[in-house]
Symmetry: C2
Subunit: 141 residues, 2 copies
């Protein structure tokens, strides 16, 4: 699983370092769409000398070589996702969690837009907002 990352980094002219592999692994093993700060905190115990700037530089590289995608769900910071397939996201406005929406047909919608817009389409992001199951169970504080 890391072989693919290693190979792709080298192929694109980037060096393979433990920090980069670790940062990718955090994203690949998470469904929580962590922010740079999140990633940094998760790796603190294992890479106590790593700086936040390294996280930012690394996610930029990972995005460039197509290993991750960057999300901007209307928050004050970006989130990162190792699942680069096109899928909508939903954010809980109470607790802030961001989940995937799978098994949704997005192609009909995209096709409709492609037909009507004079733009040449290259990508899209779909963000839904609401209240997650956990927060629905809680009394509204």
């Amino acid at each position: 699983m890391e072989n693919r990352v290693t190979a792709l980094l080298r192929e694109k002219g980037f060096k393979v370092t433990p920090q980069r592999l670790a940062i990718y692994k955090v994203l690949a093993n998470s469904k929580a769409h962590p922010s740079a700060e999140n990633i940094f905190q998760q790796l603190q115990p294992y890479y106590p000398t790593m700086s936040l700037a390294t996280v930012y530089k690394t996610v930029e590289i990972l995005k460039e070589i197509g290993l991750i995608q960057v999300l901007n769900a209307g928050e004050d910071s970006f989130r990162y996702d190792a699942d680069t397939s096109m899928h909508p996201h939903i954010r809980c406005l109470q607790c802030g969690r961001v989940d995937d929406l799978h098994d949704i047909d997005i192609n009909t919608f995209i096709g409709q837009v492609a037909e009507k817009t004079p733009y040449r389409l290259t990508g899209q992001q779909f963000y839904f907002y609401g209240c997650c199951p956990v927060c629905q169970g809680k009394p509204a504080n």
Copy 2:
């Protein structure tokens, strides 16, 4: 047209000031989805003493009372839109302009998501990315 804004501000307990009306008017008369900085610059000649902080406070109020919506199209700043109807947006990755996508059926898509997610849905934003007609005409620099 300003009567509605005036009335709504008062009704919600906010005072009606020339700055607020001017900021709303900029948004209502624009299809460019300006940022706070854009709004500020447009009003500079007419309100040379107005500060950027006033723009930020005002758009926050306008959002709260439902007169505008806030967009986050993956840029480093927010954009504001006086058209509060739910409509997708498309951003040109070359020149940065953000346009509306009208006459698109979004309800089928939203309905599909509402059925499948355990979240209680309250809103959504759809962002498309691509190359606008103007930039397509240009040689790729």
